[in-house]
Symmetry: C2
Amino acid sequence: MSSRKSRADRRVDLIEAARRAILRHGTQGVHLHHVAEEAGLTSGAVLYHYPDLSELLVEAHHAGMERFYELRVKRIARLSDPAEKLVVTIRSGLPVGHDDQGVRLLNELGGAAARNRVYAVLLTTLYDRQVAMYQTILDTGAALGVFTLTGDSVVISRNLVALEDAYGYRITARHPLIGPDEAAENILTYARTVTGNTLQAAAH
Amino acid sequence: MSSRKSRADRRVDLIEAARRAILRHGTQGVHLHHVAEEAGLTSGAVLYHYPDLSELLVEAHHAGMERFYELRVKRIARLSDPAEKLVVTIRSGLPVGHDDQGVRLLNELGGAAARNRVYAVLLTTLYDRQVAMYQTILDTGAALGVFTLTGDSVVISRNLVALEDAYGYRITARHPLIGPDEAAENILTYARTVTGNTLQAAAH
DNA sequence: CACGTATTTGAATCGTTCTTCAATTTCGAT
DNA sequence: ATCGAAATTGAAGAACGATTCAAATACGTG
């Protein structure tokens, strides 16, 4: 039994616990006691804070997405060269390995989104934000003359995020030939042709 | 209560029923009685044929994948022009609408594959077969001088399948701006640059 | 057409999970 | 240091799903 906490603190804990429980058992497979165990509490205590488990699960997914997105933004915040930004952004959209928690949580929702409107909105919103992120990088690079775009930056950005997403699934499913490095290289190949930039991963 | 059937016939029915039940409730959310209802039987009867529900679910997913893949192969079987084949293949990899059953079933597995090795293998195998399908088209087109590939046909094929997959998720999640037409056009934009072919959708 | 077998039902049982709630404990405020 | 409110427990009960199995039934075969 973990020590007593304030309402706000406990809710944060529970969201974290729910996130871990989802990764272990799947969004559909999580049970109240799984979350309770992860949090070091009783089922009753969880219910005291979240009378409806499904609401807690939504919050956990929401929090996971925000974390994922914020991490990506932070990674490129201090970079100035658009080419470098693009390379780093592509990397940050891919799982680090087949057990990458951030990506695995997102992948949980792919199927559920077709049945659950709330998850559909979450996932769609995340996609759009990531597309906007790429678009900013591409447009800036084009304005600076670093990139020579072969087409609409929206289309390119949508394709880039799509590629990340799909390779994320392949990697978390343990494709024997496609790991983070191979996926990054495949996406970079695409990025090179549409930007006209060699996009070397800058040493630092 | 549907009329009595032979073992073989009933098993086929049950796989179909399981497929529908999965689409309604999710791979993790399906219960024995859901499958029984879809089949017009009792839970006991389902158990008589499949003592282990999870095995039936695996078979349902397997059957769904085979159907999906075979349909794609059949669509291009009678076409000879590589450019036309490529256009048709891209289309056949995308859902027809947000409620496309074939794609929705595949999407169900994305998350589960990270936790379940059997599903991971199924999904990975399907991916590889689709990549091989594209590769054949690209290599043939290149040999005939119809395509001028900008790079390795494996990489291009992997990217094409990846794009299909990801847009499939967006469409089934009801993205307000991305439907089958938009997705196809985005993928075609990529295909055009890497093949050097205008890839007009042939009228017929 | 009657027999025997394979299929299906329906009910009983068991285990699990959710839900409720009174009792207890802890902590902060006074 | 005490009081009161908030958090947590643990047990009891309700609901649900899986599982088992004897009985009923339909079907093919001889």
